[in-house]
């Protein structure tokens, strides 16, 4: 598998309030949920055992919240480039997500400011399911390099 090369570098001056973050589409399969269970140590069967999930009143196997959080942890470095630093990432898991649904990780710029000579950008983030519902909402604070 060829690894992708890093996206081009984003600078503080390139960013304006209201800018959209380049979206990232993920379509986790049940197989990916199992891989995630193994990696994270979260063996809650609602993420891989359909009968167990339905017995617990869920429509079926559900995607781990933390996996969606980690998709956000892919979205941000992809957008800010190698010189950018992700300082803070918060996610609220508001709705159920199901395997094989196309989930689009999106975000937009809310704020930018310089503090202690560091260039900060704050973004709101969310995950949209195929119905257009926001099943995850979040926030990120990044530090970007400056051209000055």
């Amino acid at each position: 598998m060829k690894l992708t090369t890093m996206s081009k570098q984003l600078y503080y001056e390139d960013v304006a309030i209201g800018n959209q973050i380049s979206p990232l589409t993920k379509q986790p399969t049940t197989r990916q949920l199992v891989m995630w269970a193994g990696v994270s140590g979260d063996y809650n069967p609602i993420h891989y055992d359909k009968d167990f999930a339905q017995d617990r009143g869920l429509p079926g196997v559900v995607v781990q919240g933390q996996l969606l959080g980690c998709f956000m942890g892919q979205l941000m470095p992809d957008w800010i480039g190698e010189q950018g630093i992700l300082r803070k990432l918060s996610c609220r898991y508001k709705g159920m997500n199901f395997p094989s649904e196309a989930l689009i990780c999106k975000g937009k710029v809310n704020k930018k400011y310089v503090k202690d000579s560091q260039h900060y950008v704050e973004c709101s983030l969310w995950v949209e399911n195929p119905k257009g519902e926001k099943t995850v909402s979040g926030k990120a604070i990044v530090v970007l390099p400056s051209r000055d």
Binding site: L3, Y43, N44, I46, R56, G65, F71
Partner: protein, 152 residues
């Protein structure tokens, strides 16, 4: 199956409990498996040659990698708190201070900082908040994470 969760005073009294720290050695293979599980092909996480030329000088872990360290302990401990039938993840708040590299030894300390209950559609629902700190082998704080878990 509605409302059969027994919420005891004992459970509510567990706020403030801190578990014994656990140590994890970060390995390249762990970082690789993490990136593969997310399907994140950023070369900084996996391509030694590429990462060597970057400002980091070596492979680093993705920023959210740290959240899996100690997550096994969190899941084990939740199950000892009450006889939950279902556990869902409510929230994650991560603060990163330093990148994590292979061969670092990360000490993870987790504390229960809040337990509250509410009457939900499925009966009594408990919201448990955990605060985790991550230190490296030099005792430097590398990250903090707050997780909220919903049990019923």
């Amino acid at each position: 199956m509605v409302g059969n969760l027994l919420i005891t005073e004992e459970l509510m009294g567990k706020t403030g409990i801190e578990w014994d720290p656990r140590e994890y050695e970060v390995e390249r293979g762990m970082i690789k498996r993490f990136a593969q599980a997310i399907d994140d092909q950023n070369p900084l996480w996996q391509d030694e040659e590429y990462a060597h030329k970057s400002k980091y000088g070596s492979i680093i872990a993705p920023p959210t990698f740290i959240t899996i360290l100690g997550f096994d302990q969190l899941m084990e401990e939740i199950l000892t708190l009450a006889s939950f039938r279902t556990i869902l993840h409510g929230k994650t708040e991560l603060e990163c201070y330093q990148p994590i590299r292979p061969r670092e030894i990360i000490s993870v300390t987790t504390k229960i900082t809040d337990i509250r209950q509410r009457q939900g559609k499925v009966g009594k629902v408990v919201f448990i908040t955990f605060d985790t700190t991550y230190k490296n082998q030099r005792q430097e704080l590398v990250a903090k994470c707050q997780q909220m878990v919903i049990g019923y």
